[in-house]
């Protein structure tokens, strides 16, 4: 709620200074997937639309979708900067170095890079505390599984994903001491075919609840076909799998995009590393399935409330990694900087992180 009041305050401020503005602020977005992925990129685009709705003709937004991570990204970002955009959001981890380079080349343009960790004087970063949603997913999956085996479809072994796998496992373990997690790396953010294959490979091996870090609803559809369960990623994916869908952890970027745009308009923007979660209303549980048992539903609500109030933080010590080292000492909660560098699996995950 703190953020809301901050937003209102900023809004009043923006209202007074922006009345005379003539040229709209031009804002560019770079997406890794299609806006129709109904996952990650779709939600960023919803955030962009929220921004347009909020500011009306004071902003002019453009987006480029389906941008591959790598050299192409640099070209796209450069083009957006050259096209006169004042503020550019790049929304995938792999856009980090291209964004850093572009920020150097265009010192008068403000950049924000999602899920990265490199800042400079005109480049900020922002991300979601997705691990909060994952923890709740883990708790739920741990209660729902009958085979004591849950599956995780990973995208790429980067800190964000590894952190989330740990959160799922810790959540599941907290309610089910026998829990096993099987992890499969699809090496893509978005490929419905490959995600289906990954989902089936996991379900073939006894997994009955799927959690995914890839963006298409394909794994949920695969679970629906086999009468098993899954949790939606990034946006509300309930309609793809009315029976299988447990809930979706939905990303909501609009509050952040509005806040930062105001800062740029007011000249108060500063490069920061912002993390938004349930407390900031940037993460929500969407379409919790009414077919869940009541005790599971109660546990979901309770866990969510604890996280939302800040009473519980998943990465609080003592936590050991799966090689026996104490990675989070007792009484310590990982800071955002530390969270961004998680490169270990917690004790109990028998897999190795691919190098």
């Amino acid at each position: 709620m703190k953020l809301k009041s901050l937003l209102v305050g900023l809004g009043l401020l923006a209202g007074t200074t922006m009345v005379q503005a003539e040229d709209p602020l031009k804002i560019g977005f770079v997406y890794v997937g299609p806006v129709g992925d109904l996952g990650w990129s779709y939600e960023h685009d919803m955030g962009r639309k929220g921004l347009e709705e909020y500011f009306g003709d004071k902003v002019k937004t453009t987006y480029v979708e389906n941008v591959p991570e790598g050299a192409d990204a640099e070209r796209v970002i450069t083009q957006l900067a050259k096209a006169g955009n004042d503020f550019i959001f790049t929304t995938s981890f792999g856009f980090m170095n291209p964004t850093v380079k572009a920020a150097k080349r265009f010192p008068n343009v403000t950049f924000e890079h999602a899920t990265g960790y490199k800042q400079s004087k005109n480049l900020g970063t922002y991300t979601l505390r997705t691990y909060e949603g994952r923890y709740i997913s883990g708790v739920t999956a741990g209660m729902m599984t009958e085979t004591d085996t849950i599956g995780y479809i990973g995208s790429f072994p980067i800190p964000e994903v590894i952190r989330d796998i740990n959160a799922v496992y810790m959540g599941a373990k907290s309610v089910n001491p026998d829990i096993k997690i099987k992890i499969v790396w699809a090496n893509t953010w978005y490929d419905p075919g490959k995600e289906t294959d990954a989902a089936n490979a996991l379900m073939d091996q006894g997994v009955d609840v799927l959690i995914q870090h890839t963006d298409s609803p394909a794994p949920l559809i695969a679970a629906e076909k086999r009468g098993l369960r899954g949790i939606g990623q990034a946006s509300d994916q309930s309609k793809f799998a009315p029976e299988a869908h447990i809930f979706s952890v939905r990303d909501d970027w609009a509050p952040y995009y509005i806040k930062q745009t105001k800062a740029v308009m007011n000249g108060t923007w500063e490069p920061k590393d912002f993390w938004g979660g349930f407390q900031d209303d940037m993460l929500t549980l969407a379409s919790i399935n009414p077919n869940l048992p009541t005790d599971v539903r109660a546990k979901i609500d309770a866990t969510q409330a604890m996280i939302k109030s800040g009473e519980f933080k998943p990465f609080t010590g003592p936590i050991k990694d799966n090689k026996g080292n104490l990675v989070v000492p007792e009484g310590h909660t990982l800071t955002d900087v530390e969270l961004a560098q998680v490169s270990w699996y917690v004790e109990g995950i028998t897999d190795e992180i691919p190098r």
Partner: protein, 310 residues
């Protein structure tokens, strides 16, 4: 690995290989006639989106398949007209067709993104599906998988044992000689290209109606390109295409299966396998100049103008 898991892996390999089989068979016939169509991916995407649109609006997946086939053949006719009539460069036209199809399918499909349909249900064939091991791998699929089996066997027969097959080969090997003995070269090529379009449409329909029963942009994810590699891998033989499609299917799921089992092999390395296999086959084929000539249709990619002498 227990036998249940092996069965499930092989079952999945067949499902994964089916879209590849469809589209590679189409490309094979097209290339046999001497036309190289790099527009596979575009035709497949158009087939997928139109098939989905039709199935979504009528609620009938069968109509979706028919619509996809029609769309695939329309796309291929555009290609055929450009390269056979106008004499446009096959490689450039094919690439253009892919780019066109990718863009147009995204545009056409934007209204149904996020919708789902009832796809085809699997049908366990009576008796056959009771055969131990094999039955569960081969005979518990949906109707499109069965038609891909049938299509492969029909083509195996037609290409190798019939007059039609010989005509096709003659046109692909030496169109001028074929022309001289009265074969209508352009007509044969038109039909071959259209067949390629039909199969690409079917392959697209399989993707959007069965494999992942939804439409999302670019959902074929490069399968059209893999099919091109597959045709080379199979050295232009129908039987080998079938084998190759399932091998590619297997290779593309194997790295996921092994990860789930906890093997610590780099998934990137495993995901690379089908492509490595293609390169290896290419190298083996190209190492022997004589063999290379024997395998690829000799006039592949070359335009034919009946007014010109060889």
């Amino acid at each position: 690995m227990d036998s249940d898991l092996i069965i499930q892996i092989l079952f999945a390999a067949i499902k994964t290989g089916t879209p590849l089989l469809f589209i590679a068979l189409g490309e094979l016939i097209c290339e046999k006639s001497g036309v190289l169509n790099l527009g596979q991916e575009g035709m497949m995407l158009m087939g997928a989106v139109v098939g989905f649109l039709a199935a979504y609006s009528t609620g009938n997946a069968g109509l979706g398949v028919i619509a996809a086939i029609i769309m695939g053949s329309i796309m291929s006719l555009i290609f055929a007209f450009l390269v056979l009539h106008v004499g446009a460069n096959q490689v450039a036209t094919g690439l253009a067709l892919t780019i066109f199809g990718t863009g147009l399918s995204a545009f056409v499909g934007s209204s149904v993104v996020g919708q789902t349909i009832e796809g085809f249900k699997p049908i366990a064939l009576p008796l056959l599906s009771d055969i131990p091991f094999i039955g569960r791998i081969l005979f518990q699929h949906d109707i499109l998988v069965y038609s891909s089996f049938m299509m492969a066997f029909i083509l195996m027969f037609v290409v190798n044992k019939t007059r039609i097959g010989l005509t096709l080969k003659a046109v692909g090997e030496n169109p001028h000689a074929a022309n001289a003995i009265g074969i209508k070269v352009l007509r044969v090529r038109y039909l071959a290209v259209m067949f390629g379009g039909v199969m690409a449409g079917l392959s697209g329909a399989y993707m959007s109606l069965v494999y992942t029963p939804m439409w999302v942009e670019n959902m074929t994810a490069g399968r059209g390109w893999i099919a091109l590699a597959l045709v080379v891998f199979a050295s232009w033989r129908v039987g080998r295409i079938m084998l190759g499609a399932y091998l590619f299917g297997l290779a593309s799921i194997m790295h996921l299966v092994l990860q789930g089992l906890g093997w610590s092999i780099s998934p990137n390395l495993l995901a690379m396998l089908p492509y490595v296999a293609t390169v290896v086959v290419m190298v083996i084929i190209s190492a022997d100049k004589f063999k290379e000539k024997l395998l690829a249709p000799r006039s592949l990619g070359k335009p034919f103008d009946p007014r010109q002498m060889a």
